[in-house]
């Protein structure tokens, strides 16, 4: 009896190891091929570093299709004029719609950013947890998704394996927006819209940036308003990039490579005493929140001692332009900030 037990134990251990070994090889092979394409993208990026815009997606438009590098590092080809599109991220849906695209499937819409033309599309779940079954059941010929959500990122390879074309994006900055518009207008075969949706926006933004004085060097702080923490955004965040472009210095930039949102020391804030403080909020009623946040800051002795609070340079930013991606309203977002920072140059 003992011998049989020992034998079966050894056999099952061997079986487990064999199976584990097989799957590992597959995974290693996949990872290697991903690494290779990621390496290609990196090489391209460093080559272009000397240029103004680093081409993250590197969109190449062909006769009937469009090729680009998606957010997983793969070079992907999409056929033009898809008929059955499912979009899993409302920020991209917004762009897709303005680029002349239509969808048959979308995720639960956010009350604050509805897309009129997509109201009749079927819902496939929420952005953080879309239903793979529902997506496949709609027989899409294109799925637009984001790698910012873990669940969606994991879905990308499954959809590709099912031969469903996927556009996987990860937008953070304005250049990502311009390239996305290039990609979308090429796929919808409405390249005329590239002018209004991207070129004009870019020109307006560049105009504002050029007009911003370069010698003031105001110091700024970006706060995310929440009940229990002092969460700041440095220059690697969306609003951080905007303020950096406008020639300001972000006091929360440190040598430490962290994600763009971190807890910052109140003492440091008091010591640096930034000229401007911008507060991001997810609240809906911006007027109510403004009053509340302002009085909070003034009542709190630590905050009240800051120059920015004393001189009224404590500004609350609305979420539709500064928490969500402003997309084709990038120029408006920049203009608002510029008016706050340099009122003498950008008259109201």
């Amino acid at each position: 009896m003992k011998k049989t037990k020992l034998l079966s134990l050894i056999l099952s251990a061997a079986l487990v190891l064999a199976i584990a070994g097989c799957s590992k090889n597959e995974k290693v092979a996949l990872a290697e091929s991903n690494n290779v394409s990621a390496q290609e993208v990196k090489n391209e990026e460093t080559k272009n570093d000397s240029e103004e815009i680093v081409l993250k997606y590197d969109v190449k438009v062909g006769q009937d299709d469009v090729t680009f590098t998606d957010a997983t590092g793969e070079r992907v080809t999409i056929e033009k004029k898809p008929q059955r599109v499912v979009c899993l991220y409302n920020s991209y849906l917004d762009i897709w719609d303005s680029c002349g695209g239509t969808v048959i499937g979308r995720v639960e819409e956010s009350e604050e950013k509805p897309v009129e033309n997509a109201k009749s599309a079927e819902s496939v779940g929420t952005a953080s947890d879309p239903s793979l079954e529902k997506i496949i059941s709609l027989k899409p010929d294109l799925v637009i998704m984001t790698t910012a959500y873990k669940v969606q990122k994991e879905m990308v390879s499954t959809l590709k394996q099912n031969n469903i074309p996927v556009i996987a994006l990860d937008n953070d900055y304005k250049n990502d927006y311009y390239e996305t518009v290039k990609l979308f207008t090429a796929v919808t075969d409405r390249e005329d819209l590239y002018e209004t949706q991207a070129e004009e926006v870019k020109n307006n933004v560049d105009e504002i940036i050029a007009k911003a004085p370069a010698d003031k060097n105001y110091s700024v702080l970006i706060l995310f308003a929440s009940a229990k923490s002092l969460s700041v955004r440095d220059s690697n965040s969306m609003v951080g990039e905007m303020l950096k472009d406008l020639n300001t210095v972000n006091i929360s930039d440190t040598e430490m490579e962290t994600s763009d949102s971190k807890t910052f020391s109140m003492e440091k804030i008091l010591e640096e005493d930034p000229d401007f403080i911008f507060v991001l909020t997810m609240g809906t009623d911006i007027e109510k929140i403004k009053e509340r946040l302002k009085s909070d800051a003034e009542d709190n002795p630590a905050w009240a001692s800051l120059t920015a609070v004393k001189e009224g340079n404590y500004h609350i930013l609305p979420k539709n332009l500064y928490m969500y991606k402003p997309n084709n309203k990038y120029a408006e977002a920049y203009e608002n900030l510029a008016k706050i920072l340099y009122p003498e140059v950008f008259s109201k």
Partner: protein, 334 residues
Amino acid sequence: MDSKNIKIEKIKKKSILFIFIFLSAAGFLISIGNGAVKIQSGEILSALFFRQNTVNSQIIWNVRLPRTIAASLTGTCLALSGSILQGVMRNPLASPNIIGVSSGAGLMTLIVLILFPEFYFLAPLGAFAGALLATMFIYFLAWKDGAKPNRIILAGVAVSSLLGAGNNAIMTFYPDKVSGIIGFMVGGLSATNWQDIFTILPYAFAGVIMVLLIQNKLNILMLGDEVATGLGINVERTRFFFIIISSLLAGAAVSVVGLLGFVGLIVPHMTRLFIGSDYRYLMPATIFTGSFVVVICDTLARTMFAPVEIPVGIIMSALGAPFFLYLLRRKAEY
């Protein structure tokens, strides 16, 4: 001979208590003296006694002092709460989480911050109310001719699961609003101000006073329900009272600091390993060890990678757990 041993024991315990008081005071001073901005000790002293308008003075008065006091108070409240519960439930694994404080406070905070973000300033109050309501709910569920400790623990586990599911549901349906509450879920002292202290102080004070008045009863409860009744204690009423105090203390702490684990469970045990299980010494000692642990860990959390701050819960687990394991191996009481 016997009375001489008892006398030596008493002196030993009293001196350990004094060491804890001293450590707590030392921790307080260390916390005020250190931070992201280097300030000389001379300046610190003058800032403490003479209010000035310099930046450093502001930092001491408006940032470090309230933060240190808050850390100290929350440490005391959480440790006391855990200590009481471990006695009342006669279970060494009892902590404020068992009576639903964490899950109740967490759910209420989520509801306020996500569904009513304009009222974000009500979140601390909500947390407090949530903690108390959860405790009452658990007690009510566990009641059957009295509330036996095991029933309370089991009911607590079930209710915490339920409320935790509620948390996850809200986070699933409002994913874009989740980033704002991570700070609360992990627990931290970074945004503490004098307002928070005035919120927690009355409850901390009341809780501590009440506990010190009736700590004898806790010793008796530890002997078992029958023995306690025989000794003249109204077991159900006393137990209920202790649980309410425990919930009050923990709720007040959680509303200021967020969901800080570890303190309620481990600090009472650490104290017990030094000073023994007699609640007449354990209670006062826990007040000071709780304060010391949180104050020191918070100081480390905000100076190690200054000016970036890491959540204090991480430091506490990283340092406290190994230290507790070391104690466990050295003192063979368990």
